[in-house]
Amino acid sequence: MENLSELQTEAMGELFNIAYGLATSLISDSIGMHSSMYVTEMEIIDIENLADTIAGVIDGDKEYYHVSQVFLNYLEGETVMLMSRESAAALTECYSRIDDMLDDSSEEDIKSCTLEISNIITSALIGRIADLTNTEIFFQPPEIKPYKTSEIHDLRRGSEFSQVIVIKVIIDIDSTEIKGHMYVLLKEQSFSRFKEALDYFIEHYAG
């Protein structure tokens, strides 16, 4: 994995495991059902390779939602979550079991539930890093729109970002598998700070 030592890579896996444990609990609380979350793949790539990486996981026959959320302060960057409409509708169906006003065929309701889940995951993940480093990270409200390849290319052209943490996650709610692809885009200095946070975690957790 680029720019991380083997120990830092292992620590990142464990750190995200803990963060997703928190996210799972928050999702279960919000949905009123027991859920599980599995990280099936994780890697760090250069921003230049983001569009190709996404192209490799997108099924051309499906529609996807693109949820983005900017975070600022000690770490600066943006999370991007891609979720197929199929998974987003399944998620909405789960939420509708506790909120009978929700309609899993309504575009607005699907967007609302997808935003909610992305916000929970981003907050747990980035918030955990902030906790570790005893710093504060501010979040801008998340935005959702239909996925367009051109906008991923724009992220690269914006060129503020250097590295991307790629995380494939499966959320299992009542045997319904909801798949999402999360990308954490970090600016150069923030990536250095992220490595410092990992070193802190290693020192205090593994000794």
């Binding site: 495991n17 803990i18 997703y20 444990g21 027991h34 957790y205 593994a206």
Partner: protein, 119 residues
């Protein structure tokens, strides 16, 4: 006296084993990062204590726990997981776990767990 540690994260295993070694002198620690190796190691070594992660690729910790409890080996099982849901705790305890510790672990949590299972 033997302890089996099952966790797919090498980082988490090392942290746990370091804490175990600080608190239990003279115990032999057997470890694996592959959930599928857990039962063969368990039946081979017949450990007095097992530390078991839940979320692992290929096989869930819950399935390993159920298998362990089906045997006649009287091991204590401490589940170590980042999953903090009460429902998960209920499921795990229902399967026969002797204690559950939430990650991230530290010396106090491990000491409490060892005391709880009377090791």
């Amino acid at each position: 006296m033997k302890i089996l540690v099952v966790d797919d994260s090498g980082f988490a295993r090392r942290a746990l084993i370091k804490l175990i070694n600080e608190q239990l002198e003279g115990w032999a620690v057997i470890e694996t990062g592959e959930g599928k190796q857990a039962m063969p190691l368990f039946t081979e070594h017949r450990p007095e204590l097992v530390f078991l992660d839940l979320t692992m690729p290929e096989i869930r910790g819950e399935d390993i726990l159920a298998e362990i409890k089906k045997t006649d080996i009287p091991s204590k099982v401490i589940v170590v997981s980042a999953d903090i849901q009460q429902k998960t705790r209920e499921i795990v305890m229902g399967l026969g776990a002797d204690y559950m510790v939430n990650k991230p672990i530290n010396a106090e949590k491990i000491a409490e767990a060892l005391t709880a299972v009377m090791i």
